[in-house]
């Protein structure tokens, strides 16, 4: 018998863990800006359950390659699926929120 897929229901006390990975290039201007922009978004929208991993491509180019990164700065939502990729300095706040599924109706 075919198993029916059920949409997982949010339960009280259980927080969805969001894993974001930001690829930066040392202290280059766009990378610093991306870090600051993402930090502001995270502070506002993720009270808990967020894990942010920052990968410096100058130190770990092979890591970036393994993850299919083309340019830096670049942001990936690793979890939950589906994965999301954003490139640039994340200055377009609305676009970042929309891509991460955080945009609220105003």
């Amino acid at each position: 018998m075919k198993a029916r897929w059920r949409k997982p229901r949010a339960r009280a006390g259980v927080t969805t863990v969001v894993l974001l990975r930001l690829y930066i290039t040392g202290r280059a201007p766009n990378s610093l800006q991306a870090l600051a922009n993402l930090d502001a978004i995270c502070k506002e929208h993720f009270k808990e359950g967020l894990r942010l991993e920052v990968v410096d491509v100058l130190e770990h180019p092979r890591r970036a390659m393994a993850d299919g990164v083309l340019v830096s700065p670049s942001l990936t939502r690793v979890h939950p699926a589906p994965g999301v990729n954003l490139v640039g300095n994340l200055s377009d706040r609305a676009k970042v929120l929309h891509a991460l599924g955080l945009k609220r109706a105003r």
């Binding site: 930066i24 290039t25 040392g26 202290r27 280059a28 201007p29 766009n30 990378s31 491509v57 100058l58 130190e59 180019p61 092979r62 970036a64 390659m65 990164v69 083309l70 340019v71 830096s72 700065p73 670049s74 990729n85 954003l86 490139v87 640039g88 300095n89 200055s91």
Partner: protein, 297 residues
């Protein structure tokens, strides 16, 4: 791990940027100047864009004065008094210009002026839609859109990016307003326009009286000076267009220079191997050009 952007690094960056899928988010972010580095999968390396390279170099501990000077990488802007420069700075938008991009069309309105930092732009006078003769080169010593300062809001040339790099862009209206209020900027731009006119005149004489090999050698040296690199990309077809000759003539000009070991020219990659000897092979116009405050036509 990081690749410096002189010579080979610059070529590698050009190749990597061209390899990004067109209209992809990565490509758009590069155009918007929001990217610091491109991952080089073939070399397991990271290639920095010019602005990021400068910023990282400064962060690595150069003196504040030196880094300050590095910020004023365009000679025309660097000639301005510091206060005037600071005033202009707010209206200058840094961006990456990519090889093959057309900034202005001949006969069209001039929406922006560009101050190149480490890109090279060719100014072409077009006879047909797709063919143009090079009448000037612009790099970190000058600007694109000088016609605005001379009272014309329509471009008399097509501006084509030859070498990828950073430039500072300013809206035409803002430039005109700053130009009217700033006598030092007026002086710098008039001097530059005069030098460019002199170079264009010299180029006309050169085209009439000098052999194609000597002209080609002169052009390579000028390009090398402006690109601040002994190596650059240029296809034979584009070289022929720029110099206003047939493709076969480029072959005839490049062949002897290559045989004598002065340059290498293969698959669009040109490398100056022996600069002194190439200077000897170039026509006298190269020396004449260098006596002017700016060179490059």
């Amino acid at each position: 791990m990081r690749d410096e952007l002189s010579g080979g690094g610059r070529l590698k960056l050009e190749g990597l940027l061209q390899g990004l899928p067109k209209n992809s988010p990565a490509s758009k972010a590069v155009d918007a100047g929001e990217i610091d580095a491109v991952i080089d999968y073939a070399g397991s390396n990271v290639v920095l864009l010019p602005a990021a390279r400068r910023a990282l170099r400064e962060a690595e501990g150069q003196s504040p004065a030196a880094s300050d000077e590095a910020a004023i990488a365009n000679t025309l802007l660097a000639a301005l008094p510091r206060a005037e420069y600071q005033r202009l700075l707010a209206s200058l938008e840094p961006l990456t210009l990519r090889s093959g991009e057309v900034l202005q069309e001949q006969g069209a309105a001039v929406p922006y002026v560009y101050f190149p930092v480490d890109c090279v732009i060719s100014l072409l006078a077009t006879a047909d839609d797709d063919q143009g003769l090079q009448v000037g080169l612009v790099a970190c010593e000058g600007m694109v859109g000088v016609s605005l300062a001379l009272g014309a809001d329509v471009s008399s040339v097509r501006a084509l990016v030859l070498m990828t790099g950073t430039a500072l862009r300013m809206k035409a209206a803002r430039f005109l307003s700053a130009f009217r209020q700033c006598p030092p900027l007026q002086l710098a731009v008039y001097r530059y326009a005069h030098a460019k006119l002199a170079l264009a005149r010299q180029a006309v004489a050169c085209g009439c009286f000098h052999a194609s090999e000597a002209r080609f050698a002169r052009w390579l040296l000028t390009m090398g000076d402006l690109a601040r690199s002994e190596e650059f990309f240029l296809t034979q077809a584009l070289a022929a267009d720029l110099l206003g000759v047939r493709r076969a003539t480029v072959n005839e000009a490049a062949g002897p220079l290559q045989t004598r070991g002065l340059i290498s020219f293969s698959r669009g990659r040109i490398r100056i191997l022996q600069r002194k000897k190439l200077e000897a092979a170039a026509c006298a116009c190269y020396v004449t050009d260098r006596r002017l405050p700016v060179s490059g036509s």
